[in-house]
Symmetry: C3
Subunit: 206 residues, 3 copies
């Protein structure tokens, strides 16, 4: 129950981030809805396919669909109100990342996956929706460009895995782990943390 | 039987659309065949993975493979004959969209998915092959740019779902629903129907 | 046992090719690791999803993960040493292609897939990791541009399938078939073999 409400939060956040990206790419209203839905549902579909849960839960739960579509339509209608909120969109992406990385891990543990497998499935759930969004808009995915992105998702997944090994209650652990992911991402964006790039990275002549 | 023949029609249409896109992107003969096969088989593979049908039917049915490969080779060999048929290629894409969106829904219903889940799986089957084609060629997928695309696919899927609820015979319903999809797409292309774009869509400065 | 050691070789090769591509695209250290892992594990994950093996083997086998991550980190740290080795990276990609196309076919046969289905699954396993790498970096995948790529993968898969029909021992057949793939690719690159492009390939005006 707690987890379901929590997943809804991630869904709204990712649907909004996909819809904003679509509006900025000058897509029309249907493109905005399709991209919002893809971003919101993509990670969960990848998760369920990896775990052999078919048809995927997100396609069998109509409130998820309704909420994601309504969010995308609201962004389409009211986006000028949020016009300077580029930072809010990165925050929404961070919330989606945190929620899906941690709930994905919890769901994989519930499906009896080994702990490190569950962490990888969770991390993939978290980054999957945003990666689909960026690939469809022909951008190099955020996960490859913003270093703390994949690391934050992995940290959240590992916290849920550790909580499982310590037999802590999964609901609160998931919420705390997601909060850690969001905090790490927000601080990384705010302080412009950067991971090192390799020296002399030009590609050699062919 | 009717459905199998009908799926073959969609297969030929999508294989041709993928092969033409590959020829225009100056790929060589193997690239043309690979992209034709990917476009023709991609939607059905996504459908079967979502429904837990493994290995996917399209990979287990050699006539599908042979017909799709032969279509791609024919396009490679004879494409100058069709040189001014850009409109014919958009028509082929529309036929593939209509056939796969509706048969995908019917197959999902046959696998006991709830009706709205089946509609979503069908819509994804219809748009999946073309989306793979466009992503591999680094184009923003048609489904995101042409508004009536996703809507037409969804309309066809919903018609099949409605026919199922009304206990109509699935074969004829599927064919009629596919014809509706193709008609909507063709009229939309012909009359240049456009859905609204959001106002003031420039991305805010970072 | 032989196959497991052999798969490790392909894993190292693909992880290196993904990591080099990431370094050249100026990604940071986490991007390099994520892209190395994706390239190394992507083909096997696609294979297992197509065969209904969930969660995918590569996500359940921690030595695979450790070796792929270590390879990517080594490339990040020491890549200037290899600075003029663009050819070595294409060789690594060829080794990964050969190993995964052939072991993928063998694994699909082991899962009781029909022979031609197994060949297609194997070919997809071989080209999947590299295709993911190229799409994420916004490049048209090697498989579409370098003609002998898909053909070499298919040849290796077919050799494994033929060995299965002739009841030859699968281990040695797989190694020989992989060697054939690598040889074909290397000779094709060295002699600049090209497949024909269609005549007059400009797209007609819209």
């Amino acid at each position: 129950m707690l987890l379901a409400a929590f997943e809804m939060l991630g869904l709204v956040a990712f649907a909004a981030s996909g819809a904003f990206a679509a509006v900025w790419a000058r897509l029309d209203v249907f493109g905005v809805v399709v991209l919002g839905l893809t971003t919101a549902l993509g990670g969960g579909i990848i998760r369920d396919v990896l775990l052999g849960i078919t048809p995927p839960t997100t396609l069998r739960t109509w409130p998820y669909l309704a909420v994601a579509a309504a969010t995308a339509l609201a962004v389409f209608a009211f986006h000028p109100v949020f016009a300077r909120l580029r930072k809010a969109v990165l925050l929404a992406d961070a919330v989606g990342l945190g929620v899906f990385a941690t709930t994905g891990t919890a769901i994989a543990l519930g499906a009896s996956a080994p702990v490190y497998t569950a962490c990888l499935v969770g991390r993939t759930t978290g980054i999957g929706g945003g990666a689909l969004r960026d690939v469809l808009l022909r951008e190099i995915p955020l996960v490859l460009r913003r270093e703390i992105y994949a690391l934050a998702a992995l940290a959240g997944a590992v916290l849920v895995g550790a909580g499982h090994l310590l037999r802590l209650p999964p609901g609160p652990v998931t919420v705390v782990a997601a909060a850690v992911v969001v905090t790490v991402r927000v601080v990384a964006l705010w302080r412009r943390w950067n991971a090192p790039v390799a020296r002399g990275t030009g590609a050699p002549a062919e």
